[in-house]
């Protein structure tokens, strides 16, 4: 069979040739980062192709089809999560590969072009990360991409054109999704595969560089197959196990659908853009006169200089020696950039968390998100007929109503909403709900013991699950939240005491 194939295609000897390669000084796990990146790329291509079976790029369908993929498609959420974590893995291993080559001085003559192709590959991969970030069209996708696009739009001279090219017009919309989709699934992957081929072709022409000593070519060679291939496979396998674990235990989240008018959502960048995000925040604190120019340097000029330096590095650093001790400048600068990147990333991450806490998106009270503000407004500007009832929330009811409001915000508003209107089909409204304002024992029983199965309120059916709060909330807390909901949003009913709850919860 193999002979038959070999005679007609030469594939067997070609594979043998490909695997027969000296590794100066023997195989090493240090050399496995590049092939781990290639493995991550293959994982991205395979999972990406299958995601295309469901994903539909447009403002009307991007979020919907992603939600469908997550909720309805068998293993859909898992495949999407593999793609999500695979992207992180690809960038992480590519960064390690780049650092290793930088430390080893392997970019030096005659490997300049291989290095340059590698730098371009790194940029292509970052563009893939950036364009993929928009596609789910949730709040985070829209806002994070909007920021990235506007940063590009601030570039001198070309900015306006770059902005209009990226958005396909003057605003972000359905054409932007189409454009990012085209870039993400065809343009960049095609470039990526072609450039990886070129990278490997040049690699095979020059052979591996070997360890960072000047006598590397004289070292006793080891074998690529199977020695190096074994280490490559082991590293890829470990990476795959980690990706599967992450995809299983930390699947990709989907926020609410993109809404340009949402003014409280705090977008969070992908971790590999956290350093830039932090830099943007730091320069924003400069004296006002300097902010604009500093921002330009931080977001456009700085990264551009970094890329240019990387590309021309083999031509600046012409000293043929690859010994670590003879290259203080390059290694010192690399260390500086790395410390800066890690420091800024750390700062950026804590900044995101701080912002999300400030906007109630995480931590206690997260469920209500920022709608608390709108419920306050409703109390103030509500229709005249309900104004009395609303003020009853703080006036006629006992003091426990005020405490109940915060219990409600923290525990109930996620489903029943801050304005007490619930969600159609799932969670019934509490405003003007006769059960809420009826027998205190009955409503206390529902809150304490939970409720499942379909119920009907004012002619509409609701099938969401009400958890049992007994044990999670004290009887006093339940009493206060009951008093609150019986007197908010125009409801007007008697306050509930702790004793009533204790009796009903049995």
């Amino acid at each position: 069979m193999l002979t038959w194939l070999e005679q007609r295609t030469g594939i067997v000897s070609m594979t043998k040739d490909f695997l027969t390669e000296d590794v100066p000084g023997g195989a090493s796990y240090w050399y496995a980062f590049g092939s781990a990146t290639v493995f991550a790329m293959i994982l991205q291509i395979v999972t990406g192709i299958f995601l295309c079976f469901y994903y539909a790029p447009s403002t009307a369908t991007a979020w919907e089809s992603t939600k469908y993929l997550i909720e309805k498609v068998p293993a859909g959420h898992f495949v999407l999560s593999l793609h999500y974590w695979g992207a992180s893995a690809m960038i992480a291993f590519m960064a390690m590969h780049l650092l290793q080559v930088l430390l080893w001085g392997a970019y030096k003559k005659p490997r300049e072009l291989q290095w340059i192709v590698g730098v371009i590959l790194f940029i292509v991969t970052l563009v893939l990360g950036l364009t993929g970030y928009l596609l789910p069209w949730d709040l985070n996708a829209l806002l994070a991409s909007k920021v990235a696009i506007d940063i590009a739009g601030n570039a001198p001279i070309l900015g306006k054109y770059v902005l209009e090219f990226l958005q396909d017009g003057t605003s972000i919309g359905t054409l932007t999704i189409n454009r990012f989709f085209g870039i993400h699934v065809w343009l960049m992957p095609a470039l990526l595969v072609g450039l990886v081929g070129m990278h490997l072709f040049i690699f095979r022409h020059n052979g591996p560089a070997g360890p960072p000593i000047d006598e590397a070519p004289k070292l006793k060679p080891g074998r690529f197959w199977p020695d190096q291939m074994f280490m490559d496979t082991v590293l890829s396998f470990v990476m795959f196990v980690i990706i599967v674990a992450l995809a299983t235990f930390s699947p990709v989240p989907l926020d609410d659908k993109a809404d340009p008018n949402n003014a409280v959502f705090v977008p969070y960048p992908a971790w590999y853009f956290l350093a830039l995000y932090a830099l943007l925040d730091v320069v924003g604190k400069f004296p006002p006169a300097m902010v604009q120019i500093a921002t330009l340097f931080a977001t456009i000029v700085g990264p551009t200089i970094l890329i240019i330096v990387l590309i021309v590095l083999p031509f600046i650093d012409r000293n043929p020696s690859r010994r670590l001790t003879r290259r203080p400048w390059v290694l010192g600068l690399t260390a500086l950039v790395m410390v800066g990147a890690i420091g800024f990333s750390w700062y950026g991450q804590s900044n995101v968390v701080e912002q999300q806490l400030a906007h109630n998106l995480i931590g206690p009270g997260a469920a209500s998100a920022a709608t608390t503000a709108s419920s306050t407004l409703e109390v103030e500007h509500g229709p005249v007929g309900t104004a009395g009832g609303a003020s009853g929330a703080t006036g006629s009811a006992p003091a426990s109503a005020a405490a109940g409001a915060s219990v409600y915000t923290a525990n109930c508003a996620g489903c029943h909403q801050a304005n007490g209107q619930g969600q159609p089909g799932m969670f019934p409204p509490l405003a003007q709900n006769p059960v809420v304002t009826g027998d205190p024992a009955a409503v206390a029983k529902i809150v304490a013991n939970g409720l499942s199965g379909q119920i009907s309120v004012k002619g509409s059916n609701y099938s969401g699950q009400m958890p049992a709060w007994k044990g999670q909330l004290s009887n006093a807390q339940i009493a206060s939240v009951l008093t609150y909901i019986r007197n908010a949003w125009g409801n007007k009913a008697s306050p509930v005491t702790e004793a009533q709850v204790a009796a009903a919860a049995k």
Binding site: T20, D22, A56, E64, K67, V79, G222, T233, F240
Partner: protein, 211 residues
Amino acid sequence: MAHAEAYNDPGTPEEITRRTFMANAVYALGGVIGLGIAIPVITSLLPSADATTDQWSGLTPEQAEAFKKATDSPVKVTFDVHETNGYFGASDTEQFVWAVKATEDQLRAERPELFNGTEKLPFTGPVINLGFAVFSPICPHLGCRFAWNQPQNKFICPCHGSEYSKLGKHEAGPALRGLDPLPMRDFQGKVQITWIEYATNTPALIVQKIG
């Protein structure tokens, strides 16, 4: 082979054993990775659409009016089939059927297979309902929609020329069976039809989709 010095020396027996182990490990780990990717991505291709819950589609009074136009010629009756359409969710899709005025005796004479058990019907009710036989508009040959040709007094499919009598008997062309019956009923004064799609190009009625 540009750089193959290392391969000139076969190495000690220990080295050879070690290399065999490493090669096998590459195959094994590679296989596990391959399966780890293949299983979820192939699973994701399994049909994901929801099953329809209610098989009967009710006709609005206006839609039911169409039956009154039936004289000797068949009439097209449109109605809405409620079905889920992927991530667009549940929605109504318009379908139509051919309603032919007939008595059970007339149909039995021309389409005995629908009555004598030769053709296993996927529904239990009678084939003639409210004085009508209701036929699926899908040609049993290969799924095109056929049309009523008044001058020739037969149903003719535009795709491959299959011809059927008014009561759906196969008369000419490549189809392997006559027109497919659909169940209809009077439910609390409202006409209801069950939309069924049958497998095409088979002599027997095989249900592909109900509702």
